[in-house]
């Protein structure tokens, strides 16, 4: 089994099968680039991900392993009928996987999934964040995501005014 070494920002190395790694768009490109530049086709590729720390990288790989037999969806297929995302995010394993995480981890996971181009993981994590926004008040959202309301001048008032003229289709 062809393997690849994936190294996190803090230096931890993960040895995974290339087949699994290729389910990430980013790793796939990296492996292919390595192949082209390397003379020795047997050599084990080594990929350094400078933006993702070990704990998060481990979670991404764990998710990939669980979903290694899912069909790979073309990047924009889900947007067409709008159902795809929901179906992807519904498995019990995913729920258990995300349940113990706090929002900070989820956000890091989103960034990692985005960087590594793992669409399925990006979908379920975004959905989770979305559910934390739905139905909440402005203050609740601010607290939950530690947002700073550093509006300048009357910007906030202006936005409030604009909202007033706006209504769901």
């Amino acid at each position: 089994m062809a393997l690849v070494r994936v190294i996190s920002s803090d230096g931890a190395a993960f040895l995974v099968s290339q087949r699994l790694a290729k389910r990430s768009g980013k790793l796939k490109t990296e492996i292919e680039t390595f192949r082209k530049s390397s003379d020795n086709s047997e050599a084990q590729p080594e990929i350094r991900i400078v933006t993702i720390r070990a704990e998060i990288l481990r979670l991404v790989l764990q998710w990939l392993q669980q979903h290694q037999n899912d069909p790979v969806l073309p990047a924009n297929q889900n947007e067409q009928d709008g159902r795809g995302d929901a179906e992807m995010g519904q498995s019990q394993w995913d729920r258990d996987f995300l349940a113990p995480m706090d929002l900070g981890i989820v956000m890091e996971l989103i960034l990692a999934a985005n960087h590594l181009e793992v669409k399925g993981l990006l979908d379920i994590t975004c959905k989770l964040v979305e559910s934390k926004i739905t139905g909440r008040t402005v203050d609740e959202i601010r607290t939950a995501f530690k947002l700073k309301s550093d509006f300048k001048g009357n910007e906030e008032e202006q936005t409030r005014l604009e909202n007033r003229w706006c209504v769901e289709n």
């Binding site: 979305e130 739905t134 700073k148 003229w165 209504v167 769901e168």
Partner: protein, 607 residues
């Protein structure tokens, strides 16, 4: 060397062990790329998006740039709510920095003549605003056709135009006079000006026109307006509440014919002319059957099937009442027209009045067009005045069914619909039942759910009383907690639900799914909250996520504040909520509802 290996341990994963970054000022979204943020915002409702805009400047900007609000929402000016003379709206439009790229849809509600001067002022001087508008909707506006025409002139990119008026128009006179397109009679200066400036060309860009006016003459005027330039309409819907008097109908069809001819190469959907009126009267004594006769005469005389050439028409919807004597006409006159429409995929005929013994006309009609590509759908209105018609032979073609009882015999719904509860009417989407007799007792809701599992509209009315007040109801047929729970559990596709019945025994349990004991506790303690141990075994009305209209009339005293507090949480689409009867909803419940369904959402709330 590590492996990704073992499943996650059960200890909560937190970001607290993050080196150095966790200094309290850190925001989770600091390094989040715009694309990811937009992906998160993508599925949010307009209300959530508006909240997000207020959280921080970055989100505010991202949402504006994403144009998500632009796509999901409309700019609404409500003539009565906002301002009498448009002052507030004018201020907003002058001062807002983001108005120009914000909205593509414009909705006017209840705008009257007084507000038109500033409106024109702005439309004239704010091309950035008008350029982006692709849809204009007028709802119960009282402005005459000349002003409407002028507004249309200012919107060069308008594609969709909707005007719906539920009430009698104050400017009826100006619609009555209409536009005389005959060059010699044009005395109207305003219209002359518009015509001379050649601004009418904007009409040519219109793709969709949906008009609902209570008066036929207003509809006719619209046909005349559209006829002036439109030549690439894709959808045309023109409906009225009024019955057709023959001489008026003649004019309507003449104009319709020439509009259709101008748009024959582009028109894909056509719907006219009646709204489905609640059949509270005897169908035969009204003029409605004339309308259908008139239509059939017209299409025969004008040879629609040969001369119109609607090559791309995919959907045709007629809303007529058909009298039995017209039965043969269906076959002889309507079939040739339908067979000439080569692209037709959907044909529906609403409000078809069916008497016992007349089923064969529909069966024959269906056989005639059997070879065509499309499957016709019928909206049948029937009663038991002369026996119950048998609809089983064409039940696959039934889209909606309205049943009315007069005779004393019918004690329950299952006396009226053949094989009710046994046969499944999968394709039936709309069911209306209207009882006029004093012996009717039972809606058979359990059977109803088995037979009509795909309903989107359900309207059950036991209305034997002459008393028409909002709060009293002398209905006998009851709806109780298990019935309501059945509806919530099984009819998830419901868009509209109206129940006028004896709901004296309906309690908060049926409405919210919360157990009786817990309801009692809340009432006695006057503390309306669920604790963590409380198990909610049923489902609240809000599980009907598609619901737009909900009317319950005849509620009893067992419905209390628990219902408004727990039954309607998070129903994004609900536009109309009426709860009538002797229910015990207090100020607390009312204000909670008012908060959720406030006027800015355009929700019609009456409790």
């Amino acid at each position: 060397m590590e492996n990704p290996g073992p499943p996650i341990d059960s200890a909560p994963i937190t970001s607290s062990n993050r080196g150095g970054q966790n200094d309290g000022t850190f925001s989770y979204f600091n390094d989040c790329p715009e694309g990811v943020l937009i992906k998160i915002f993508d599925k949010l409702s307009v209300q959530d998006l508006m909240n997000c805009r207020l959280t921080c400047p970055r989100w505010d900007k991202t949402i504006l740039i994403s144009e998500l609000l632009d796509m999901k929402s409309s700019f609404v000016f409500d003539g009565r709510r906002d301002d009498n003379i448009g002052g507030k709206c004018a201020t907003y439009m002058e001062e807002s920095s983001s108005k120009n790229y914000y909205w593509s849809h414009l909705k006017f509600r209840r705008v009257g003549g007084r507000q038109t001067p500033w409106l024109f002022d702005h439309l004239e001087h704010d091309p950035d605003f008008t350029l982006t508008i692709s849809m204009l909707e007028l709802l119960n506006c009282s402005i005459n056709w000349l002003i409407i025409l002028q507004i249309l002139m200012y919107l060069p990119n308008l594609e969709v135009f909707v005007d719906s008026q539920d009430m009698y128009c104050w400017d009826y006179q100006t619609f009555n006079s209409g536009i005389e397109e005959d060059e010699t009679i044009q005395e109207n200066v305003g219209f002359q000006q518009i015509r001379n400036q050649d601004k009418l060309d904007n009409l040519a860009r219109l793709r969709v026109a949906r008009i609902h006016r209570s008066q036929l003459v207003e509809c006719t005027t619209y046909l005349k307006i559209l006829k002036l330039r439109s030549n690439s309409l894709r959808e045309l819907e023109i409906t009225t509440d009024q019955n057709f008097a023959p001489q008026r109908a003649q004019l309507f069809y003449t104009h319709l014919y020439s509009l259709l001819r101008n748009n024959a190469d582009s028109l894909k959907m056509l719907k006219f002319p009646f709204k489905f009126v609640c059949p509270t009267y005897d169908f035969r004594v009204t003029d409605e059957h004339h309308a259908f006769r008139e239509f059939l005469n017209h299409i025969t005389e004008q040879r629609w099937s040969e001369t119109l050439g609607l090559r791309v028409l995919e959907e045709l919807s007629l809303q007529f009442g058909v009298l039995p004597i017209d039965g043969q006409d269906l076959k002889l006159r309507l079939v040739p027209l339908l067979n000439s429409l080569h692209s037709l995929k959907n044909f529906s005929m609403q409000c078809v009045f069916l008497e016992s013994g007349m089923e064969r006309f529909i069966e024959e009609f269906l056989r005639e067009i059997h070879t065509s590509q499309f499957r016709p759908q019928f909206g049948i209105y029937m009663n038991d005045a002369a026996g119950v018609p048998n609809i089983l032979n064409f039940q696959r073609s039934l889209r909606s069914l309205s049943v009315q009882t007069f005779r004393e015999m019918a004690k329950q719904l299952k006396d009226l619909i053949p094989l009710f509860g046994i046969e499944c009417y999968e394709d039936l989407k709309e069911l209306q039942y209207f009882s006029k007799n004093h012996t009717f007792r039972n809606f058979n809701l359990d059977l109803l759910i088995e037979s009509f599992s795909n309903l989107t509209h359900l309207n059950l009315v036991d209305h034997n009383s002459r008393l028409e007040t909002r709060h009293s109801c002398e209905a006998l047929a009851t709806i109780e907690d298990p019935d309501m729970q059945l509806i919530i559990k099984h009819l998830r596709k419901l868009v509209s639900l109206q129940l006028i019945a004896n709901m004296t025994f309906l309690t908060d349990v049926g409405m919210t799914g919360i157990d009786k004991e817990i309801c009692k506790r809340m009432q006695s303690g006057n503390l309306y909250a669920l604790s963590e141990e409380d198990v909610v075994s049923g489902a609240p009305l809000s599980k009907l996520q598609n619901l737009r209209f909900l009317v319950l009339r005849g509620l009893g005293i067992k419905v209390t504040d628990i219902t408004p507090l727990f039954a309607f949480n998070g129903m994004p689409l609900l536009k109309k909520l009426h709860l009538y009867g002797s229910h015990q909803v207090s100020v607390l419940g009312r204000s909670s509802l008012a908060q959720q369904f406030n006027a800015s959402r355009g929700c019609d709330l009456q409790v």
